[in-house]
């Protein structure tokens, strides 16, 4: 059961982190040579799929991480390198807390992208729109794209840092 939970946890983190690296490093690179109209279509399609993958993987990270936390045996923990303890007085406990905060920041960011920033990029147009309304709509979409861009970069940085924090748990923690 422990192996199964650890594998689910590792695969879920991998899907999330690898996905955000690929979206930034691969998709963004490919978009540079595409016509703007097709960039929009690809962004919409890939973004819609990616947000559900990212959300599902983060939920799996939380669920498997929570289950692993509940199964931690303090006596077994003491036998590991550095004899870590599950308290805020010990580096292991503090590192676990920071990792949980990172996870919360990630799931909040991805939920914001999925339910607010991504839908906000949809163009609202009607034949009776004035030129001022069209300009305002363009400005609004531009802002939504900029917010999305920042959110994606924040998500990538936090998830890459989280991997480091998680890796340090094997050595007794980082903080």
């Amino acid at each position: 059961m422990d192996t199964f939970l650890a594998a689910i946890h590792a695969v879920a983190w991998a899907v999330h982190v690898g996905g955000s690296i690929t979206m930034e490093w691969v998709l963004r690179y490919a978009q540079r040579t595409m016509p703007p109209s097709q960039v929009g279509v690809v962004c919409k399609n890939a973004g819609t799929r990616y947000r559900w993958f990212a959300l599902a993987s983060l939920v799996a990270v939380g669920a498997s991480g929570g289950a692993m936390f509940l199964r931690i045996d303090s006596a077994e923990l003491m036998t590991r390198t550095g004899s870590p303890e599950l308290s805020l007085g010990d580096s292991y406990g503090r590192t676990l807390l920071v990792l949980t905060v990172c996870w919360l920041a990630l799931i909040t960011t991805v939920a914001l992208m999925a339910f607010w920033l991504h839908p906000a990029q949809r163009k609202r147009s009607s034949p009776d729109m004035t030129s001022q309304a069209i300009a305002a709509e363009r400005l609004r979409i531009g802002r939504a794209i900029a917010h999305m861009d920042r959110a994606l970069k924040f998500e990538l940085v936090v998830s890459v840092i989280s991997i480091g924090i998680g890796a340090s748990l094997h050595a007794g923690g980082l903080f």
Binding site: A14, I21, T22, R49, H170, A171
Partner: protein
């Protein structure tokens, strides 16, 4: 913060190893289930350009990840005292009598499968996809070339799916090492 440089080395090896595995596995999932379908939403000619750009870039990630996984994997084993640089290299626990040793061997063999598949995609099937027609090419040659391209694309898709399954099995085996191995 740990003050012992040895612990820092342990953390850095683990970090790079986990990050490389995540990049490989998560990247393969994103390529198969996110970028692949997104490619289908644009006209075929543009989709082909996008496919070439994304594959070329992703292959860099694949090879970098596979290299880092091997190097950091060896360094981690050496750091854990299970491997050294003198004959017979493998220390106690890494022999095939122990589940740990068998699991490490299986992981290494599966890593070799990923390298073979990666080589096939990079050096055999990708160049076939990149072929262009020159003026004066006959209709029969165009048809033959298109058939070859479609076959190459099908093979790349198959190999990518095999790689994905293999990477998930490797992750399961890697997770089991903390409890002494899986097989």
């Amino acid at each position: 913060m740990p003050s012992d440089p040895d612990i820092w080395l342990h953390i850095i090896y683990g970090y790079l190893h986990d990050l490389a595995v995540a990049t490989y596995l998560g990247g393969a999932v994103a390529m198969e289930f996110v970028l692949g379908p997104a490619q289908g939403s644009i006209p075929p000619a543009q989709a082909q350009v996008m496919g070439q750009k994304t594959s070329d870039r992703f292959l860099w990630l694949v090879w970098a990840s596979l290299g880092i996984i091997l190097v950091t994997g060896i360094l981690r084993l050496e750091h854990l005292g299970r491997l050294d640089w003198t004959w017979p290299f493998f220390n106690s626990g890494l022999s095939l009598e122990h589940s740990y040793g068998r699991t490490i061997l299986a992981m290494f063999l599966l890593w070799c499968v990923l390298v073979v598949n990666g080589s096939l995609v990079t050096f055999v099937f990708r160049p076939r996809l990149a072929g262009k027609f020159t003026p004066g090419t006959s209709a029969a040659q165009v048809t033959a070339s298109q058939t070859a391209k479609m076959q190459a694309a099908t093979w790349i898709q198959r190999l990518t799916r095999v790689d994905l399954a293999v990477a998930v099995v490797i992750a399961l085996m890697g997770a089991s090492l903390k409890w002494g191995g899986l097989i």
